[in-house]
């Protein structure tokens, strides 16, 4: 394999990492603040995909603009789901069976709602840039993947800004570290959790819209992404946004380059082996590794 081929694979892996990061970050926010594993994440990915698809096919709105519109729409949907369902889950500093069952049930409801509204046909978004490739010397960048990568980076940068430069962001980070201490210093835990849940779902919906630009989808959509999101957030350390970025990069690199040595059918096995390795060897994820580094006095 030539150096150009390897470079092209590296580009493919980086672009894939962007997709993985944006689809995992919503789960991380929700887990971090509320210690809830959002099993309905795949359902919101699916709804996000259909939201962007409907805007494109019915109103002619560009899918990229559709993704930006998905943020506020899914933010409010997330807030509503929190108000109606999630706030009834007893608070705990560990994921509870109740939360898992509730959100799994919600996923099934969303999936069946999808079948009811859209049937089971495979849908896809085809725009002039879907099959376009940006050639830079011997390297080729699929335009749509580049766009998805750029939006993913932008979204993650925006989230980073919010988390570090706003009161809400600081409250979120405080709750992720210690919710009791956060309550003592005056953080309105319920309100922050509701907004954090809304933000998490907004990211899921927008990520679904981005994925719809790359893949075909049906109401079943999202399952394989949900499993990969698990791997990424465990690799990243469950509550770390930088960890999500690193976890996404590791998974994408391993998946893409392992195919050179192993058959492509081993791809999922590789992903889940990574999950097992991370749970056994790096229970705190890569973020934990970073925190464990020796500090100089």
């Amino acid at each position: 394999m030539s150096a150009t081929d390897l470079l092209n694979l590296l580009i493919a892996a980086l672009l894939l990492a962007g997709v993985y990061a944006v689809m995992s970050v919503g789960m991380t926010i929700i887990y971090g603040v509320m210690k809830i594993v959002n099993l309905a994440h795949a359902g919101f990915l699916m709804l996000g995909a259909y939201f962007v698809y409907e805007l494109y096919t019915r109103l002619g709105i560009d899918p990229l603009l559709g993704v930006f519109l998905a943020f506020p729409v899914f933010f409010f949907i997330g807030m509503a789901v929190h108000r109606i369902l999630v706030r009834r889950i007893p608070t705990s500093d560990q994921p509870t069976l109740t939360s898992l069952l509730l959100l799994f049930g919600l996923w099934l409801v969303l999936q069946n709602l999808g079948y009811l509204v859209w049937g089971n046909s495979d849908r896809a978004i085809l725009t002039p840039r879907t099959l376009e490739v940006l050639e830079v010397g011997p390297m080729g960048f699929p335009t749509v993947r580049l766009v998805v990568f750029a939006v993913a980076l932008g979204a993650l940068a925006g989230l980073e800004f919010v988390l570090h430069k706003t009161w809400f962001g600081r409250a979120v980070r405080a709750l992720m570290q210690n919710s009791d201490a956060g309550r003592i210093v005056g953080i309105n835990v319920d309100r922050t959790a509701r907004v954090a849940f809304g933000v998490g779902i907004a990211f899921s919906g927008a990520a679904g819209g981005l994925l719809a630009m790359l893949y075909s989808f049906s109401p079943d959509f999202g399952g394989p992404f949900l499993l990969r999101a698990f791997v990424i957030i465990v690799l990243g350390g469950l509550e770390s946004f930088a960890g999500v970025a690193v976890g996404s990069l590791i998974l994408a690199l391993v998946e893409t380059f392992s195919i050179l040595a192993l058959p492509a059918s081993y791809q999922p096995a590789i992903a889940f082996s990574l999950l097992v390795v991370a749970l056994v060897a790096l229970p705190g994820g890569v973020a934990g590794l970073w925190n464990r580094r020796p500090r100089l006095a």
Partner: protein, 432 residues
């Protein structure tokens, strides 16, 4: 009661015997009465259905992932039942009368476990003479363990993997030709293009196969044809991929490095769309491209646009087949459901029900083993399927040929192989 109702009564008695009612000396009387209350209505129901009508179980997915093809298959079966009943039903010689067919339908929700359970229920509680269903391979595999257990014929209308038919089961039948024949026909079609001078001899093939029985069988079929026809093609690359993959860039890079002339994949619709998008983005070119049985689907053409032009596919049936019975079926189907047949789904189901009806008539009774025996020899000479004759092979599966269709610009699709059914000429090599 059992004596009065003849064969079906004996069967119901046998069912009751299975429930150990006759042997239950140790049971106290109230328990026996309770069990009789629970069990006998079921036996009676089966009896009644057995004498006044012919109950046929249909287990298909009309919700869940496979809802769309499941619905199409159900429509095919119901059209056949409707036509049989309009002709007065099926003549049962033993009873000396024609009986209408009654459909006992269950939706398996695209769930394997549920699917098997519902087939079991139809075969036991509903006392059907046979069960039709089993779309797709995964659901068919789950269902296929039941027919021999309950000695009730089962005809799968949508599962083709050879694993289902290679276990020596005696009560299973299928109206889809095996997937290895799809691979074989694909290679045979390419070979015919070589013979006609449209492709060169000795071209290299790259194979990307889904990691399922379907993919394995497809690859085997191609390999078998190549082995039987040395010098035509050589396999330069062959690799399996996982269903529902999120990225094919690594696999496609390997395909690119293989520098093959022809690219043959076997994929489900979602993977076909994702893989072909990425294929186009790599800028690769192959003289011919196929994704197995996928290609002409309207969903794919919407998702990929002109990128699907000249892709060819092997399919079990096409509405374009130039047989009068196909034209009649298409018109009847349109009149029945208000739209034309989509892909092959309703046709194999329609023929399955007609084959069952013929077998019952030839058996002259509602005895399930007799029906099974006649299914083994039944010949539907006005079949909709390619070749126009449907007969089940020794393993229960039919072996009708596949038709090769090729996409053309402006959403046109032509049958290009076999030549006696062709509606257009194959375009090969594919224009760049």
């Amino acid at each position: 009661m059992f004596r009065r109702n003849g064969v079906a009564g004996e069967r119901a008695l046998a069912n009751c015997a299975k429930c150990n009612l006759r042997k239950s000396n140790s049971l106290s009387r109230p328990w026996i009465l309770l069990l009789l209350t629970l069990v006998l209505p079921g036996c009676g129901k089966g009896n009644k259905a057995g004498t006044n009508e012919i109950a046929v179980g249909v287990v298909l997915p009309i919700t869940g992932r496979e809802a769309k093809p499941g619905q199409f298959q159900r429509e095919g079966i119901e059209l056949a039942i409707q036509q049989i009943n309009q002709n007065g039903g099926i003549l049962v010689r033993d009873l000396d009368k024609k009986l209408p067919v009654k459909e006992v339908f269950y939706d398996d929700g695209s769930d394997q476990a549920k699917s098997a359970g519902l087939v079991e229920r139809a075969m036991t509680s509903d006392n059907v003479v046979a069960v039709l269903g089993g779309y797709s391979t995964a659901l068919g595999e789950a269902e296929s363990v039941m027919p021999d257990r309950y000695q009730t014929p089962w005809i799968t209308t949508g599962a083709a993997a050879s694993t289902i038919f290679s276990r020596g089961y005696q009560y299973i039948f299928g109206t889809l030709s095996p997937t290895d024949l799809l691979g074989y026909t694909t290679a045979e079609f390419l070979g015919s293009l070589v013979d006609h001078g449209q492709l060169q001899k000795g071209l290299k093939l790259a194979l990307a196969l889904e990691n399922t029985d379907h993919g394995v069988d497809y690859g085997k079929g191609i390999g078998k044809w190549i082995e039987e026809h040395p010098g035509y093609f050589a396999v330069a690359f062959s690799e399996k991929f996982d269903l529902g993959s999120t990225d094919f860039s690594g696999l496609l890079q390997k395909v690119k490095n293989a520098r093959a002339d022809i690219f043959l994949a076997d994929a489900h619709l979602q993977d076909y769309i994702t893989m072909h998008r990425q294929y186009m983005q790599t800028g690769m070119y192959h003289e011919m491209i196929s994704y197995g049985a996928r290609g002409p689907e309207s969903d794919a053409r919407k998702a990929l646009g002109d990128a699907t032009n000249y892709i060819f596919a092997g399919i079990w049936w096409s509405v374009k087949l130039p047989y009068p019975q196909v034209k009649k079926f298409a018109a009847d189907y349109q009149a029945s459901v208000g739209r034309p047949p989509d892909s092959w789904y309703p046709a194999t189901a329609y023929d399955a029900m007609r084959a069952l009806g013929t077998a019952i008539e030839q058996a002259g009774s509602l005895n399930k083993t007799a029906i099974r025996d006649h299914l083994r020899t039944v010949e539907l000479k006005d079949s909709l399927l390619p070749g126009q004759v449907l007969r089940f092979g020794q393993n229960g599966q039919i072996h009708t040929p596949f038709v090769i269709v090729q996409n053309e610009p402006q959403d046109k699709v032509d049958i290009v192989y076999p030549l006696d059914a062709a509606t257009g000429e194959a375009i090969a090599p594919k224009p760049r």
